[in-house]
Every structure is written in C-alpha cells, then in structure tokens.
Amino acid sequence: MIKASVEPWIEAPLKRFVDDAGVVLALLLHPTGQVQAQHGFTRAVDIMSACALAAAIHVSSAELGRQLDGKPFGGLHHAGKERQVFLAETQTQRGPYILLTVFDHESSLGLVQLYFDEFRANLAGAAPIPVAPPAVTLNEDFEKELNSNLNFLFGRA
C-alpha cells in the first residue's frame, strides 16, 4: 500500500488540501528535494524526479524573485494545455517545505491558491515543535535518506 506521508502530522493537512482543491497530484518536499508526503503518484521514480525538479525550480525562481523584486516569489504557476502546475513554499516550526501540485480542468488556479493558503495554516498548526534543531541533510546521506523516505511511502521499509 502506498502511504501518503513520511511523518504522520503532514497527512491530514495534505489530504484536506487534495480533497478541497481537487488536484490530481501533490508532493510536499524539503527545499533540499527530500520527499515528505505525496498524493497521486504510483511510482517512486516519478516522485524522485518530481522532487529534484521542484527543488531546482523553487531555488531558481526564488533567486529570480530576489533579483527582480528583492524577495523570493510567493508561488509559481505554469499553465499547460491539459494540466497546470503550482509550486509554492510554506513555513512551519519544522522549517520550510515546498508544495508541488498538478491540477486539471476540474480545479483552477484560484481554488488551488485559496486552499493552499488554508493548507499553509493547517500545516503550520499541525507541525510539532522540534525537540532539536532540524538535522541538515548531508550530500553523502542525501540519496540514502531519499530512498528511505521513498521506501517508507511505497511500503518497502
């Protein structure tokens, strides 16, 4: 069975966002590219690719925002012919997370933005206070931790 989240406190806010906004795919990750939760994915390799691309796009667009506007952009939206992508950062006591979501004509950018604001508040409210500062993922451990999270989500742990 495919699990929704690596940490249980993320599951309810993400499920509510997915249900309310009517999105097809959702992925919550650390800015480093480590997956934390997912909805709609069926293959670990797709999550791995999406996390890597989302983290890269997020850091690039944040820098572009800093260059143009003096601060990172609040969110990024790309409208394709059939599907659209929305990517934005959210802050919690556990640190920042990135939400990548894909939606089609069943939803809309307005709805996704509306429910993302609620998700942001719900996630911040659900995040437990960390007992120790968040551990920094070292480059040498990155793949091991990514695989560990993917194995957990796909029931291979």
Partner: protein
C-alpha cells in the same frame, strides 16, 4: 489601480442591496477587479464562484441544455449572482432582499458592454 471593469463594478455596487461585485477569470477563478463591501474575502468568493459557474456550465452542456446564462444562488443571508463567458465571469454578492431583477438587467447590460 483602475481597470476596464472599474466603472462597471462601481455602478453595480451602487445598486441597493449589492455588497460586492467582482470580475474573475472564467478558467482560473483569479480576481481581475473587484468592488467590495464585505472585507477581504474577495479572492475566495471569486475562486469559488467561478468554479461553481464553470461546473454549472458543464452540467448544463452535458445535460444537453446548451449555454448557461445568468446563475443565482440563494443562501440564508444573501444571494450570489453570476454571469459569464468563456473568458470572464461577473459575480455579484447581494443581500437577500435586493432587487434581483434589476441586478440581473444590470449584469446582462454590463456583460454586453464587455463584449
């Protein structure tokens, strides 16, 4: 900042019982312009109302009823009136005792002016 819709929205909001009028994208539900007397809920109203109208249009089309025109939602404390095209939707939030006939005429006129 005024837009091509500002004067139209001002005129609609001057109607008795109208609490807010908004123009939003039909597909994305993002507010283009608004004249609000109901606080900061404009973006939420626009997103949800545009979604409602889009689904109503699809329902009518699927049922073989053709194009959707004026749509009215009656709630306990007021009414939501929506009219639109493929590109934009015009949304009016009105009190329950507002003159809906007059508001409907004004909304139809406004959408004709917008082409």
């Amino acid at each position: 900042m005024s837009t091509a819709f500002t004067l139209m929205l001002d005129a609609l909001t001057k109607q008795r019982g109208v609490r807010a009028s908004l123009v939003a994208g039909a597909d994305d539900g993002v507010t283009i312009d608004s004249n609000m007397q109901i606080g900061q809920e404009g973006t939420r109203v626009a997103a949800l109302a545009a979604s409602l109208y889009r689904k109503a249009r699809r329902s009518a089309k699927t049922a073989g009823l053709g194009a959707t025109g004026f749509m009215q939602l009656e709630a306990e404390a007021g009414r939501l009136c929506i009219i639109g095209s493929d590109e934009i939707v015009l949304i009016v939030v009105a009190e329950r005792d507002a003159n809906i006939g007059l508001i409907r005429v004004e909304m139809l006129r406004a959408t004709k002016e917008l082409g």
